[in-house]
Amino acid sequence: MRVGVVTFPGSLDDGDARRAVRLGGAEDIALWHNDPDLRRVDAVVLPGGFSYGDYLRCGAIARFSPVMQSVVAGAKAGLPVLGICNGFQILCEAHLLPGALVRNAHLHFRNRDQLVRVESTASAWTSQYTPGQELLLPVKNGEGRYVADVATLDELEASGRVVARYIRGNPNGSQRDIAAIRNEAGNVVGIMPHPEHAVEALTGPSTDGLGLFTSVLAHLSAAGAMT
């Protein structure tokens, strides 16, 4: 399986994301913001960082990059896409996920290990978890507060599209403690904490993040077996 990781100007976590892809058991493929070629990948990760300097709004300019035109088209056709932190912001700006991520309510950049609870395993990226499972993942963001109108929030809740929620403290003021959501089909997931930084005991607070990268492989194997 080939999992692509996009590097935008200002991406920071593309190296860790590619490492997490490898530890998850897939081949990591470098994708470039200015190249629409997805190089026959089976899934795409949009990593954390400050794409295009976060100018205007986080993710606003990255959305119009050549690679994103291919990612959006692929996502609509079922390609699994995971957006982490800045990647989550890009997915919202690209309208692949509803809502937006804005300045933390307390105005502070938050950098800490954070517990989240898995709320939905019905996505391409979370099938290897159990509902209610608690994960310890690093958060590091200044603009991680998830907001959407009440109707959208209710719809996300009712359709089981809240993928993970902050527990024992909300690091940024996200509405309804939302840490991760998915699209209707379940192939697109945006998550604000960093699973790619929690894949090895040596460098992470846990190895709880690895499940996202193994889940997508299970999803792709199951999809391959059906065709």
């Binding site: 205007l56 606003a60 804005v102 105005l107 109108d149 003021g173």
Partner: protein
């Protein structure tokens, strides 16, 4: 004699929607008493973007730029106006 030219400038103002919390604006409002200023209920911070067109100011195109890029309609409202520049 001055050479005549028109500044083809369109100004776009982008503001967070009223229902979206603006913690930066609140921080400014909270600092006002330190200036000895009382009686301010609320401060909200937005962006002003000036777009200069090569030819005539094109508010229609500016509106498209604002809608697609400058503002995120999920969280922000915008207004577009042609600025009367010095001739």
């Amino acid at each position: 004699m001055s050479q005549e030219y028109a500044v083809a400038r369109v100004v776009v103002d982008v503001m967070l929607k009223p229902e979206i919390l603006d913690p930066a604006g609140q921080a400014v409002a909270n600092a006002l008493p330190r200036l000895g200023i009382a009686g301010v209920d609320s401060v909200r911070i937005g962006k002003r973007i000036e777009i200069e067109f090569a030819d005539d100011a094109d508010p229609q195109q500016a509106r498209e730029i604002a809608d697609k890029l400058l503002a995120n309609p999920v969280i922000e409202d915008f207004t577009v106006r042609v600025e009367d520049g010095p001739a």
